[in-house]
């Protein structure tokens, strides 16, 4: 497959306009691999051909497909297990204490990809007896319509359930479905999946907890600040934020600060 810098720039531009995600020099070369299946489906030979077919239309179904293919959807169940567990117990523990009367918990998985993070949250919260009988709502969003559709299906391949999910949890919380595994209805029940762009106004309501993990790293500095400002709008004044391993709010404005007591938890400033 021949690639011209012009085609790559055009596709990188599309991705940036649609999602804010930047393709650095290294990732530019992965475009080829990422778009190969789509080219094959369309019977096209080159990225130039794809750009011509796209015809400058950022909002066409074809543009959706291209954007989906270029996004990195890598995720797995209980990702960064120790940090995740810590947040689910200590971080959510802060909310448990503050909401003891109302017994209501609203969580947002922002940039949820194919749903593993949201399902992990649902399982981790259900496991805690202190949240029994609470009104639990997990809002899970991603800019990718394809990822959201897969998340909503609750169907995961053998490969996906192997990564991070303890075997006993798989047996308890999933049912086999052909070659795949389907998450059980009680795990699925508290979750609402929705396509949403983090650069646009946040979903309505105030969230007690937000997880925005491994999403910020693909944004420019300015975009990171803009996204954090959006998260700041969406979080309850005493809410808790979790970022991905190696991500921080340092140098990203003054919307959030690290909680002095609980490691890995950020609070709205």
């Amino acid at each position: 497959m021949e690639m011209t810098p012009i085609a790559i720039s055009a596709l990188a531009g599309l991705l940036e306009r649609r999602t804010g995600q930047q393709l650095n020099a290294n990732r530019r070369w992965t475009i080829e691999t990422a778009l190969k299946p789509l080219l094959r489906d369309l019977g096209l030979e080159t990225l130039d051909g794809l750009v011509i077919r796209l015809n400058g239309d950022d909002r066409s179904p074809l543009a959706d497909k291209i954007v989906d293919a270029m996004l990195n959807h890598e995720t797995f169940f209980f990702r960064d297990l120790a940090a995740f567990d810590h947040f689910a117990t200590e971080g959510l523990g802060l909310i448990h204490a503050a909401r003891a009367e109302r017994r209501r918990l609203r969580v947002w998985s922002a940039g949820c990809s194919t749903g593993q993070e949201a399902y992990s949250l649902s399982m981790a919260i259900a496991q805690q007896t202190r949240f029994q009988g609470w009104d639990l709502g997990i809002f899970a969003t991603d800019v990718s319509g394809e990822a959201i559709a897969r998340a909503r299906s609750g169907l995961f391949t053998q490969f996906e359930v192997q990564r991070g999910l303890p075997i006993t949890t798989l047996m308890r919380q999933f049912d086999p479905d052909g070659e795949q595994w389907r998450v059980k209805a009680n795990v699925r029940a508290p979750i609402t999946f929705l396509q949403h762009n983090l650069l646009s106004p946040p979903p309505p309501g105030r969230f007690d907890a937000i997880l925005c993990r491994n999403v910020l790293l693909y944004f420019s500095l300015e975009r990171r600040k803009a996204v954090l400002a959006r998260l700041r709008e969406a979080i309850a004044p005493d809410g808790v934020l979790m970022l991905g391993a190696g991500e921080t709010v340092l140098g990203l404005g003054d919307c959030f600060t690290a909680d002095p007591q609980v490691r890995g938890v950020y609070r709205p400033a």
């Binding site: 797995f76 297990l81 192997q162 990564r163 991070g164 075997i167 047996m171």
Partner: protein
């Protein structure tokens, strides 16, 4: 360094597993069936065992049951490692005492996550 005993009748699979495990800083021993694995455990208990299901002489599940009846200085963690992915096989493995279960083929990340789950990585 942690030790892992790779039990599989396929030399190729043992080699692949050994390679991954060595990148994860494990010292690796190999056994070609359950009987050999038992001998290895009696001479030195590994931290974790990667256990195939179908093997001649003594299968993985037979080995696991045998292990349950054997007194060792400590109990190794056992990760079943097989091509069978139906609930009946998984249930049988758990009942026989497996700590984790991984379907072949697996990659480094998958194996690492399983080893973390049993607390040896």
């Amino acid at each position: 360094m942690k030790t892992c005993l790779v039990v599989d009748d396929s030399k190729v699979i043992r080699k692949v597993a050994r390679h991954i495990l060595e990148t994860l800083d494990f010292t690796v021993e190999e056994a070609g069936d359950g009987q050999e694995a038992m001998t290895a455990c009696l001479s030195e208990v590994p931290d974790v065992i990667l256990l195939d299901w179908n093997m001649p002489v003594m299968s993985g599940i037979e080995f696991l049951r045998e292990l349950g009846h054997t007194t060792l200085p400590r109990r190794p963690k056992v990760v079943f490692c097989t091509t069978e992915n139906d609930t009946a096989h998984i249930r049988a493995a758990i009942d026989a005492g497996a700590d984790e279960y991984v379907m072949k083929p697996f990659d480094r990340d998958t194996l690492e996550s399983k080893l973390q789950l049993v607390g040896v990585a």
